[in-house]
Symmetry: C2
Subunit: 150 residues, 2 copies
């Protein structure tokens, strides 16, 4: 497969594939002239990378999991702790979602006067302010506007 086919089948832009290769996350099996040649295996690896990214792993962490050998060696302990982290995140987001949901239909004249909203506020203050972890928890959903256009 040449790069354009990988692009087609993975949905990732060529620049990303080159970037991943440069980082050592994937490998092209050779060159036809200058052009990279990929084995279909790369598609599976890309799916794995996507999986990892979605789970919140950084590319560096993923690189470790993929190992330099062909097949992955994933530390089960790491999986477990990552799952726990995810769980914490999920709990937070759930509280947030419920709070937002309520605020959207709350009858209080101002959100500030709604006890539930204030409770949510405290939760946020305790969670995001004043602690050392838990910062940088973004999840910017469909924020790709500028990227995917041009």
């Amino acid at each position: 497969m040449d790069i354009s086919e990988v692009v087609r089948r993975s949905g990732l832009p060529a620049s990303t594939l080159r970037y991943y290769e440069e980082k050592g996350l994937i490998r092209s099996t050779g060159r036809r002239g200058l052009h990279r040649v990929f084995s279909p295996v790369v598609l599976e690896q890309l799916a794995l990378i996507a999986l990892g990214r979605t789970a919140g792993f950084s590319l560096d962490e993923i690189q470790v999991m993929l190992g330099s050998g062909g097949d992955l060696h994933i530390d089960r302990q790491m999986l477990s702790s990552k799952a726990d982290e995810l769980d914490t995140t999920i709990r937070k987001l759930t509280a947030m979602r419920d709070g937002l949901r309520h605020a959207a239909v709350c009858s209080a004249p101002s959100h500030m006067e709604c006890p539930k909203f204030r409770r949510l506020l405290n939760l946020a203050a305790a969670g995001a302010i004043g602690e050392k972890n838990t910062r940088n928890l973004k999840s910017s959903h469909l924020k790709t506007g500028k990227n995917s256009n041009k």
Copy 2:
């Protein structure tokens, strides 16, 4: 209150407070000499900002909500749609968590041979690759290491 008290009570560094002021998210009520003076109201606003950040709003979005007036005017529709986005995120993370959880205890010799893991992989491939939104969903939990230390 001077800035050091806001720092103490909010847990945010002074640089962040100055940054927020520069961005128009908070306001100092005056100066004592060069030094900023804040009203206690700012603490409530900071909690609100933290809330918004945790829910996945950008600072720009939050700025709109806080309005230039003192009290917030939050679009209920926006809350609702943000809640929906959160919900989608939560669902994804939940699937991911369960998959990881399983992979951590799976008896298959390699993860690749576990049907559940492969299903997760497909899920990730469908979700993160090949679609236009849903990228950039990080949630880097306790990834503040470098920040909070120095």
